[in-house]
Each structure stands twice: as structure tokens, then as C-alpha cells.
Symmetry: C2
Subunit: 377 residues, 2 copies
């Protein structure tokens, strides 16, 4: 067995999810509970009836890549050559980490708390990692100066997510601009950025979250339709960014999987070229986030401001016996509520637990009641 | 950029395919020209309408993994835990090479001529490789003793394909049994086998080609519906074998892509659980192989015996000015015929060119006429 693979520990998130019962109130979920629109599937099915089901070009169908570039609407990503269509944004993250860096000398810096996969992918590829912690005292507010100060001499790739998992925080344009300026002014070889925008369409009720790529050209954007369109099983994502890097990523993509599913690509094309038939449910998630925030506040629990994605962190420190991992286990065992301890996303989140707001409101309310009861016990 | 990635040369196959014109007679193709049955797509579409499009479990839906194990029908692969569903057989090959070996000491041995990807994947992962050449003088006949003699002290994984690309040769049961016996009797740590069975259903007119896994338990089988069911764009394959190794491969699979497409998995399940509605077109390909062999023979060209897959190698040595790479370029430039030089698959095939037999018979006939004319020039 690959010793690097063996060294990667099991996932606390998966361990807790595996203990879930059919009766559980699941606030651990990272998957929408909405149903997808079936029409793009009909369009893709008709395409297959006409054309069969051949390979697409390795980086994906040209019309889909063009539609993705148009959707992203950032200066550096102008057309099909700047996009590689992937098997979900997860493969996009892997392609960037695998293709853009030299494990002999490059380091990956991760803005934390963060989705645990970034560090695992770096570890799998033998890359050094450093974590740049946002400040719990500011509710993990996006903070360009803090990130810039945290970079090291060997940092070659900066990974950040906005809206972020697990905090739900959204990087405002002004902080992204400040971050871009700082990166541009930095001496030495340029730091590449990997911007995980899988929750891009789930920010505010108004529109997509701003992207670092708008101000910083060496940014690779990872995205997908999984979260915004309730299509996690479509496995359709993209890596978009500077052409040379996309060519390298496409070389790896071709070796690993040849190309993404032709059917999934036709579904995605149908969605992106007629978004009016199937808009991201921004208002729905904004409402869910606000509802959960209100319930938590009414229950006397301190949580982060509801900004994006479908997560929040709830602060537990100060509560008697507040070991969040023990509490999460206890919540599942005694109260039948699934939550995820913050430690899964970084040491700086150890005093918190992550809740998801995708469930129906009555489920959210009952779960919050049980959590509050458990915390006070 | 990853220096190992940068060191992998471009593909001669892709280079020639890129020069293809709309008028070209394409005997370079590795993709069926038959149309897939649309009914499994309807079944999958109805499944999505009922269930949405959620993630499957990381290794794939349990019912599909059970159906794959049943289809393979080898002793060591008995149920869902022995199977990981992948994004095409290409990902299955990568998972095996990435997860089962230690680059610090393990070597990959490849039975050659071979699909060039095996060596590229090993190179990408920093693994040493050795090629075990079958003998051109025997028409690259499968030869267990020759393979056993070619293994080295550090060999940890033996990669072979049956039916083989580019030779179309099929390993008979008796040779596989002999190979298994030799591997079992070998001292030292056991050699794992990776059996590429993507053309499994395209052998003879009778039934699937035999699998090394029938006689040798430490065999990992890579397969898919791409070639047998004209579904290259479905990107649905599998890695099946010893449970412990499949667990390691699934860990990598989960990091890389989470899971394979839910839709593609439902299509595959529909096909594998009711094969009567959609049998592999064995008789069709047997006829195509025989036709191409007859045409080549009538044109005075020496080719390999037609046994499986949809390829054959044509011998060019002895012909005046017989540099096959130059000939392939010349065939494309002057005769508008796409062929692939054997050197793309290994040095021992340098005197040959690969032809595919998926095209219509009139295309095959015209292409053979032009090839014969060009060879004699």
C-alpha cells in the first residue's frame, strides 16, 4: 500500500455520519435536500438518443467550457481554453494540487478552518502544508492582512473558499481586493491561488459571491453544480484559470479519467445556457440560514453570522463540560442529532460544532432545542 | 508545475488523431461506432425523477457493485465489498497504481506491447517500470513462461490486458493458469496483478475472455461498459479484487472524485441486471475482425490473428522504406487514412502499425487498399 495514503487518518465526519440512524435529525449534511429540476436530464437524454454516448474532448465539450467561462465572468477566464471540466469540484481541487506544484519545494497554505480534503490531497501528493487560521475572536472573519502575514517563503499555492465550509463566511470584495494587492506586491515567485467556489451561488439572496479571480489573475477556480443545483450525484465540476496551468491540469485529468461523463456535461450545458429555467435557489438558502440563526439565538447559543453556503458554527466553549467531540457523540447517542465537531476543520475551530441548514425548518427547530438541552446539561 | 508530469511526453496517438480531417478514413479509432441502446438511459432518468441526483456511497451503489461482482464471476470477487465503481476503467487503473504500491521500492512490470497509459501512470507516481515484451516472431502470442521470466526482484505489480490493445490477442485459459501457477510458486512477497479487461466482452463470438482472477486471487480487474456497450462517454468502470486493496483504492477514489456519477451508475445497473435487453455485440465485432483480417490478407499484408478487442497489428518490416511512423504520417497526408504506429505501444512493435476494425466494411476495404498501395510505393 502507498505509505502516504496509509498515513492519512480516517475522517471524523464520515465516522459520525456512519453512526446516523434513520430517525436522526441530520444537521451534519453537506448535501442539498431540494430536488433537482428533471428537465435538463430530458435534454441530455435526447442528446444521447441523437448522438450516442461518445467521449467528449479530454477537457470537456467546447460549448460547455464556453458556458462555464461566461458564467464565471472574471477577466482572466475568457473562453474554453481556460476551463477543464471535471468529475465534480473535488477532482478540480486534486488536479490543481497534483499538476501545479513541485512536491520537492512547494508548500500549500490553507486558510483555516477549512474543508479537510485540501490538506489530505496535499499530504497524498507529498506536499508540505501550512494552515493560516482566521480568528475565532472575530467569528472567523475573512481577513486579507492575516492571510498575507501567514504566508511562508515556500508557499506556492494559497487555498481559500468563499462562501466557506464550515463557517459560512463570505469574503467581501474589499477584502479580496486587498488580498490580491498584497499577493501582487509580494516579492519572489508568485503565489498561485486556488479558490474553492463550490458554494459561489449560495451567498446572500442577491447573486454569486465575489471571486478572488476578479482581482488576482493567477487564481484557479474550482466549482460545480453540486450544491447550487442539488446535483451532487452529477459529478460535474470545473477547474478554470490561467491557460498554461489548465493545460497541465488537463494532462492529469486525461490520465486519470479521460474526460467527465458526456451525459453529465450535456445536463450542465442545458442548465448553464438557460439559467432562467433552473436558477440557483438563493432566496431559499438565505431563508434557511436566517431561520437557523434565529433559532440558535433564541436558544441562547452563539453562532456565526449567516452569510453563505449552508453551514454555521456554534460556539460551545464556556458551557460546562464542553468537549465538542464528546458533545457531538453524545448528541447523536442521546438526542439522535447529527452534528460535526469543529475540530474536523482545524484546531482553531475546536470549541465549535458545525450545523447544516439544509433540513426542513421543523427539523432544524427540534434539533436546536435538543442541542440547547444537551449543552446545558 | 509537477516535474514528473512535465517529464511525460505527449502522445503520438493524440498527435496523429489531431491531424485527422473530416474526410479521413479513420482506422486509428479506439471508440465503437455502434449506437448505444437508449433504454437504460430512460430507466436512469426515471430513477432521477423519483430520487433526485444525490451522491452514491463512495465506492458506488451497493446494488451496482453486487451486479458487477456477479458479472465478473470469478472466485475472489464475491460481493459489493470487492468492487469500487470508478469514472471509467482509466480511473480504475490509476487507483490500483496509486493505492497498492510504495514508490520507494515497488516496481511495475508491464506486458508489452501495451496501452501506453500504464507506464505513464506509473511515471506520474514515481514508480519504476519494466516492460516484458511478448515475441513479435510468435505474433505477440500470450506466453506465461516469458512473462514469468521477465519479472524482477522488485516487481510488485504485473499489468496485462486480455483481449489486448494493440494486438487484439486473447490470453487462453491454459496460459493464464500457467501464469497463475508460476506467480504462486514465486518466492518473496507476492506479485499483485492488474488485469485490464476493458475488452473482456469483445472476444470470440462465444463469450467473455477468461480472466487471470479465476486462477490468481491477488488480481485486480479493471473493466467498464465503454467498449462493449458503445458507452465511452458514460465514464463508468470498476476496479474489483481483494477486499483490502479495494478499501485502499476506494480511499483514493473518495479523495479524487467522491464517487462516480449517480446517473451513469443507474444506467450501468440497468444494463448489468438485464443483459438480455442489451447484450455485448460479440458477433458483430467477431465479424468485423474477420473481415479486416481477410482484406489485409487479400492485399498481401501480414497481420495478427483476429482474436479479440477491435484492433490488429500489421507488419511492415521488409517493405521498402518501412519506417512505420513515417508511413503513418504519409498515410494520413497522402492517402487520408488514420493509423497508429506500433511504436506508440512499445519498442517491440516498432515494425507494425495498429488498425482498428470499428468502421464500416466499405471504409475498412478502401483504407486497406490505400494502405497496401502506400506500403508498396
Amino acid at each position: 500500500m502507498n505509505p502516504r495514503l496509509a498515513a492519512i487518518p480516517g475522517s471524523l465526519i464520515r465516522e459520525l455520519n456512519a453512526l446516523k440512524r434513520p430517525t436522526s435529525l441530520d444537521l451534519g449534511l453537506g448535501e442539498p435536500t431540494l430536488r433537482p429540476d428533471p428537465r435538463p436530464f430530458d435534454i441530455a437524454r435526447d442528446w444521447i438518443a441523437r448522438h450516442g454516448c461518445p467521449y467528449s474532448p479530454n477537457p470537456g465539450f467546447q460549448d460547455l467550457r464556453a458556458a462555464i467561462a461566461t458564467t464565471l465572468a472574471v477577466p482572466g477566464i475568457s473562453g474554453p481554453s481556460d476551463v477543464c471540466v471535471t468529475n465534480g469540484s473535488q477532482e478540480a481541487l486534486y488536479l490543481a494540487i497534483k499538476s501545479l506544484l513541485d512536491p520537492a519545494r512547494d508548500e500549500v497554505a490553507i486558510v483555516s478552518p477549512a474543508y479537510p480534503l485540501y490538506a489530505k490531497l496535499a499530504q497524498l501528493e507529498g506536499l508540505a502544508t501550512r494552515f493560516i487560521s482566521l480568528d475565532p475572536a472575530t467569528d472567523f472573519a475573512p481577513d486579507a492582512d492575516r492571510v498575507l502575514a501567514g504566508l511562508g517563503p515556500q508557499t506556492r499555492l494559497l487555498v481559500l473558499a468563499s462562501p466557506a465550509n464550515p463557517t459560512g463566511r463570505v469574503w467581501p470584495a474589499q477584502q479580496l481586493e486587498r488580498l490580491a494587492r498584497g499577493l501582487l506586491e509580494r516579492p519572489g515567485q508568485p503565489v498561485l491561488a486556488l479558490s474553492d467556489e463550490v458554494y459561489r451561488d449560495l451567498a446572500g439572496p442577491e447573486g454569486p459571491a465575489p471571486s478572488l479571480a476578479t482581482w488576482y489573475e493567477p487564481t484557479y477556480v474550482a466549482g460545480s453544480l453540486s450544491k447550487s443545483h442539488a446535483l451532487t450525484g452529477l459529478r460535474l465540476g470545473w477547474l478554470a484559470g490561467p491557460r498554461e496551468g489548465i493545460a497541465a491540469a488537463t494532462k492529469v485529468h486525461q490520465f486519470l479519467t479521460t474526460a467527465a461523463s458526456t451525459f453529465s456535461q450535456r445536463v450542465a450545458h442545458a442548465i448553464l445556457t438557460d439559467p432562467s429555467t433552473f436558477p440557483p435557489p438563493r432566496a431559499h438558502y438565505a431563508h434557511q440560514r436566517e431561520s437557523l440563526a434565529r433559532m440558535l439565538s433564541e436558544a441562547g447559543l452563539a453562532a456565526l453570522p449567516p452569510e453563505g453556503a449552508f453551514y454555521t458554527l456554534v460556539r460551545l466553549s464556556g458551557a460546562p463540560g464542553s468537549d465538542p467531540v464528546a458533545l457531538a457523540r453524545e448528541l447523536l447517542a442521546s438526542e439522535d442529532v447529527v452534528t460535526i465537531p469543529g475540530i474536523a476543520f482545524g484546531d482553531e475551530a475546536a470549541d465549535w460544532i458545525r450545523l447544516s441548514c439544509v433540513a426542513e425548518e421543523r427539523v432544524l427547530q427540534e434539533a436546536v432545542t435538543r442541542i440547547a438541552r444537551s449543552v446545558r446539561r
